[in-house]
């Protein structure tokens, strides 16, 4: 039993923290208020090798392990949760399935520029009538000679308007529901691809969540990712890894809210002493710290299992379920500790609170995580 991080893991965490302090912390409020996509910061993340962290160096990735990835996402999200999810989506939801299921040709063509950060990727699964129930996908891909013609509307696409490459899930055999879904790689520049509404989200406002419309988009068969009608499996395996990323993002948000709370509690004077002296505040801080540690250990455990090549789906679901809840609870407590100041933008914790909520919703709601875990323990 050994919880120690390797030198490399510590170095990656420190690098991410330094970067976040320097580039993200000062800008995150502005990006949030203006709903501004942090394009420049993403470019710098690419230079650090953080956009394809776990991809084999053969495909221009960083060759790092999942533990390092979780540590980095947490630190980046501690600085800016929007940047955290942009990074998580590119790594977990785009690079990972391309490396896992792609042909060498696809890796050469699509994975390399995504892993090196020359291009930005995104993941198109959710539709207006298909959220948790991915089997209800209405987007279709129909064969036409050697090509496929894709039609449909995807929503809640992170990085939407700023993405160059999409992994798109479409029904290739609608009668078979989940067994009739296939995954495809589609470029933004392809004819028939357009960006629809950009959502006005409550939080992670620096990231861009858009509708992506596919209208008679023609792609060659070489863009099919994995086997025909096996796309649901691609999506599910991809989301397992994604949950580690979102759990880490949730932790980063919680950690930021927690650190701000300590700082505030030590400086804010009431009844002639810092409010940190009062048990009412101290006990909240103790609970926040304990919950964050509990969630962090679950997240690292899931990443560690993934690195060891063991089944980590239950562990990732537990990590995501717990870390997202902890994030919301800690951010809520942080506002309470700040009192009225917690309710104004200047003190940041209201942003953390808004940012935290999405972690309970995307890449599998908490309810979906409970289904995964509940089925796991009762099987």
């Amino acid at each position: 039993m050994d919880f120690a991080l390797t030198d490399e893991q510590q170095m990656i965490r420190d690098t991410a923290r330094d970067f976040a302090e320097r580039e993200l912390v000062p800008n995150a409020p502005k990006w949030d208020q203006n709903r501004e996509f942090p394009k420049e910061a993403i470019g710098k993340l690419a230079e650090l090798g953080f956009l394809g962290m776990m991809v084999d160096p053969q495909w221009d990735g960083g060759g790092m392990d999942s533990v390092s990835y979780a540590l980095a996402i947490e630190e980046i999200s501690r600085g800016c949760a929007s940047t955290g999810v942009i990074m998580s989506v590119n790594n977990s939801l785009v690079c990972d399935p391309l490396e896992r299921f792609g042909t060498d040709e696809q890796k050469e063509k699509f994975l390399k520029p995504l892993a090196s950060g020359q291009k930005l990727g995104s993941y198109c699964l959710t539709e207006p009538m298909a959220g948790s129930d991915a089997g209800a996908t209405k987007t279709t891909a129909v064969r036409d000679g050697d090509d496929w013609i894709v039609n449909g509307v995807k929503i809640f696409v992170t990085n939407g308007a700023y993405a160059d490459t999409f992994v798109v899930y479409a029904s290739t055999d609608p009668a078979q529901k989940t067994r009739g879904i296939s995954a495809f790689v589609i470029e933004m520049e392809r004819d028939g691809v357009s960006v629809g509404t950009r959502e006005k989200t409550m939080g992670i406002r620096g990231s861009c969540t858009s509708e992506i419309i596919f209208e008679n988009v023609r792609i060659p068969d070489s863009h099919k990712l994995g086997e025909e009608n096996k796309g649901f499996k691609v999506a599910m395996i991809t989301l397992n890894g994604g949950r580690i990323g979102i759990a880490a993002q949730a932790l980063g948000i919680a950690q930021a809210a927690f650190e701000r709370s300590i700082e505030y509690a030590k400086t804010r004077q009431q009844f002639d002493q810092p409010i940190a002296n009062f048990q009412a505040i101290q006990f909240k801080l103790a609970d926040m710290a304990t919950k964050i540690d509990a969630a962090r250990l679950l997240t690292l455990e899931a990443a560690h299992l993934k690195d060891r090549g063991e089944d980590y789906s239950m562990a990732a679901a537990k990590a995501k379920l717990m870390a997202s809840r902890v994030s919301v609870e800690v951010a809520d407590d942080a506002i309470q500790i700040h009192g009225g100041y917690g309710y104004v933008e200047e003190y940041h914790v209201e942003r953390h609170f808004r940012d935290a909520k999405i972690t309970e919703l995307y890449e599998g709601t908490s309810e979906i995580q409970r289904i995964v875990i509940g089925r796991g323990v009762t099987k």
Partner: protein, 381 residues
């Protein structure tokens, strides 16, 4: 990072699991109802080397790492929380302080015995001194080459079965810094003046004894003093850091036992035409229980690992104990709820788990004390 046990540790854990299944499962219910310490099971544990688990091999113990020890406690508590606390107290607050602070002579004298057929106990709490440990009043007065102990201790686990008591006593009045006047003494059972008083009639953990221990002109040689005068409070606090890992493991074990019972029941019990395990209302409870158990176990293991690698772990042990005990509260509560009326009767073990769990939030530092420890630490960081 490597969150696995080595082969030797796996063998010890398996031994504990088998012992729990074969020897404790059949008696767990009866010792609870009869309020009986299962001394025969404890003797078997001594023979198997399970009781002196953390005592180094040079003294005849198994010398396992804390992380392995924690898992053994979990395995025992999963079946019988009462026996798990005997083990935890014996190792964490009985043997460990002697190892950490005792003289070579004290170690040579007592360690082989504690690895053999002796049982240890820890005497800190008093009628007017619980969480506020430095307010203790039991006095140890120097008299020539001896100390004479006078006073009374409460809530002593293993009180009536122990052979050796680690007793915190006041050797000096230090105004404003009362903890600096506290010293630790090793007192053997047969010492004249050591009297086992009232045995408490508890809600849970009824298979473990909790006694009042009186010291009435109890004379011990100066060689019974552990470390120096005035170091007792530090010894007690470090013992409790260690004990918190044990109690955290115990709480994880109780919760896991309750979850397993709940899963079994939910798969058998049919309502509205299908097993209740298939209803999301029940399945989601099980999912939350499973998640929180895993989280608590990781916190316990992290604290154990820090201790094993000689790193500070006061805050982390407090987190493990706080989270695990409160987690166990929620989990056993839901386990009873899943059982419905059946959970309220003694035929189903969750009724016992429910009662057993409750003490984990109280002893070896209440949840409130853990929050003080953690709160102070995070503010100071």
């Amino acid at each position: 990072m490597n969150l696995t046990f080595n082969d030797e540790e796996r063998m010890v854990i398996e031994l504990a699991r088998d012992f729990a299944e074969n020897e404790l499962a059949p008696i767990a219910e009866s010792i609870d109802q009869e309020k009986r310490v299962p001394i025969e099971a404890l003797r078997k544990m001594q023979e198997l080397g399970l009781l002196g688990l953390m005592i180094p091999e040079e003294y005849g113990g198994a010398g396992v790492r804390t992380s392995c020890y924690a898992q053994v406690i979990e395995e025992l508590a999963r079946v019988c929380a009462a026996v798990a606390i005997v083990l935890s107290v014996h190792n964490s607050v009985g043997a460990y302080p002697i190892l950490r602070f005792g003289s070579e002579e004290q170690k040579q004298k007592y360690m082989p015995k504690l690895a053999g057929d002796w049982i240890g106990a820890f005497c800190l709490s008093e009628a007017a001194s619980g969480s506020d440990a430095s307010a203790l009043e039991l006095k140890a007065k120097r008299d020539g080459d001896d100390y004479v102990l006078d006073g009374s201790k409460l809530w002593v686990t293993n009180g009536s079965i122990a052979n050796l008591y680690l007793v915190m006593a006041k050797t000096a009045d230090v105004p404003d810094k009362p903890h600096r006047g506290i010293s630790a003494f090793l007192v053997e059972k047969d010492t004249p003046g050591l009297i086992v008083g009232k045995l408490e009639d508890k809600m849970g953990l009824r298979g473990s004894d909790t006694a009042e221990i009186q010291f009435d002109g109890c004379r011990v040689p100066a060689s019974a003093l552990v470390s120096e005068e005035g170091v007792g409070f530090k010894i007690a606090m470090q013992a409790l850091d260690n004990g918190r890992i044990g109690v955290g493991s115990q709480a994880v074990g109780i919760a896991r036992g309750a979850l397993e019972e709940a899963i079994k029941y939910a798969k058998e019990r049919v309502a509205f035409g299908r097993p209740i395990a298939e209803h999301q209302a029940v399945q989601f409870k099980l999912a939350d229980m499973e998640t929180e158990i895993s989280a608590a176990r990781n916190l316990v293991r992290r604290a154990a690992w820090l201790k094993d690698s000689d790193q500070p772990h006061g805050k982390e042990a407090a987190m493990a104990k706080l989270y695990a005990s409160e987690m166990a509260h929620r989990v056993v509560h839901q386990a009873v709820q899943i059982h419905g009326g059946a959970g309220y009767i003694k035929e189903y073990p969750v009724e016992r788990y429910y009662r057993d769990q409750r003490i984990t939030e109280i002893y070896e530092g209440t949840s409130e004390m853990q929050r003080i420890v953690i709160g102070r630490a995070v503010i100071a960081e």
